[in-house]
Amino acid sequence: MTQITPTTAFLQGLRRSLPFILVVVPFATLFGVVATEAGLDLIQTMGFTALVIAGAAQFASLQMMQDQAPILMVLLAGLAVNMRMAMYSASLVPYLGKAPLWQRALAAYILFDQSYAVSLDRFEKEPELSIPARIAFFFGVAIPISILWCGTTAVGALVGSAIPSSMGLDFALPITFIALIGPMLKSIPHVAAAIVSVVGALVLGWMPSGIGLLVAASLAMLTGALVEDWSSRWVR
C-alpha cells in the first residue's frame, strides 16, 4: 500500500469532521447563550470558548460561577471534567509521540472528544500511516470543529440577550448536563459511578464550597473503577 500524503490525510480528516457540525453548532450556540445570560460579556465568553475549547468543562465551571463558588472550586470543577483529556493524551502517545514538539503542543490544544475518537480509530486501523499523515489527519478533524465551535459560540452570545428569561433558560445548563451524561451510561460501572455521584452529592450537600461534590466525585470514580475490576473478573 502506498503512503498517503499529509494533504490527502488532512482532507480525509476534514471529511470525517463534517458529521460533527450537527453536534457542535447547537452545543456551542447554547454555551454562548447561557454564558451571556449568566453575565459574562462577549469578549469574556469568546475568551472562555477559544482558550479552553472543552464544552462540558466550560458548562461545569460556568455553573459553579453561577453558584458563587470560590475560584478554586470553579477551577476544580472544570478541570475534574477534563481529567479524561489526560487519558486521551496518554493513549495518543504511541501514535503521535514522535512528532515535533510544536505539532504535539498544537494537537494537545485542540484535543477533545471528537478529534480524539475519530483519530484514534483511524490510527488503530492503519498502523502503517506515517507520522506526518497522522498529524495532518488529526488537524483535518480538529481545526474545522474548533473554528466552528468558536464561531457559533459568538452567534449564541449575540442572540442570547434577545431570549426572554421566562423561557426557562435557568434550566438550560442542567438539561445539557443530563443530556451529556445519558449517552455515557453505557455500562454497569458507568451507571454505578453516576448513582454514587448523585447520592454522594445530595448527602454531602451540607459541606461548604462544593467540597461535598469533590468527595462524591472521588467516591464515584473509585466505584466505577472497582466495579469494572470486579465485573471483568466475574466474566472470566
Binding site: L40, G47, I53, G97, V196, S197, A220, A225, D229
Partner: protein, 114 residues
C-alpha cells in the same frame, strides 16, 4: 439572571487558569517522548471522571431549582427525566437536549407562564 459575583479580573483569572490547566492535562503525556504508559488503575479512574462529576453537580439543580426558590418543580423534574431518557435511549446528546427543552418550554407555555 444578573451578573456573576466576580470582578472582571477574577473572571479572566478563572478563564486563563482553566485554559492553562486544561492544556496541561491535554499535553501531559504527549509532552513526554516515548510510550511510557500510565498505571492501569489510574487510567481506569480517569475513565470515570465525567460520569462521576456531572451527575453530582446536576442532582441538586434538578431537585431544588433556583428559579422556583429551591422548591421541587414538576415541570423541571419532567424535563430532566425526558433528557435523561432520550439520552440513554438514543445515545445522542442533541436529541436529549431537544427532548428536555421541548418538555420544559412546552410545559411553561401550557401552564401559561410564558
Amino acid at each position: 439572571m444578573g451578573a456573576l459575583g466576580y470582578s472582571s479580573g477574577q473572571i479572566w483569572l478563572i478563564i486563563v487558569l482553566l485554559a492553562l490547566g486544561t492544556f496541561a492535562l491535554r499535553f501531559s503525556f504527549l509532552a513526554i517522548l516515548g510510550d511510557r504508559a500510565l498505571p492501569q488503575f489510574l487510567l481506569r479512574l480517569l475513565r470515570y471522571t465525567p460520569v462521576a462529576v456531572i451527575p453530582g453537580m446536576v442532582a441538586p439543580l434538578v431537585l431544588w431549582p433556583a428559579a422556583t426558590g429551591g422548591e421541587p418543580d414538576p415541570l423541571r423534574l419532567s424535563a430532566a427525566a425526558a433528557a435523561l431518557f432520550v439520552g440513554v435511549a438514543s445515545r445522542n446528546v442533541i436529541w436529549a437536549i431537544l427532548a428536555g427543552a421541548i418538555v420544559l418550554v412546552g410545559g411553561i407555555w401550557l401552564t401559561g407562564q410564558l
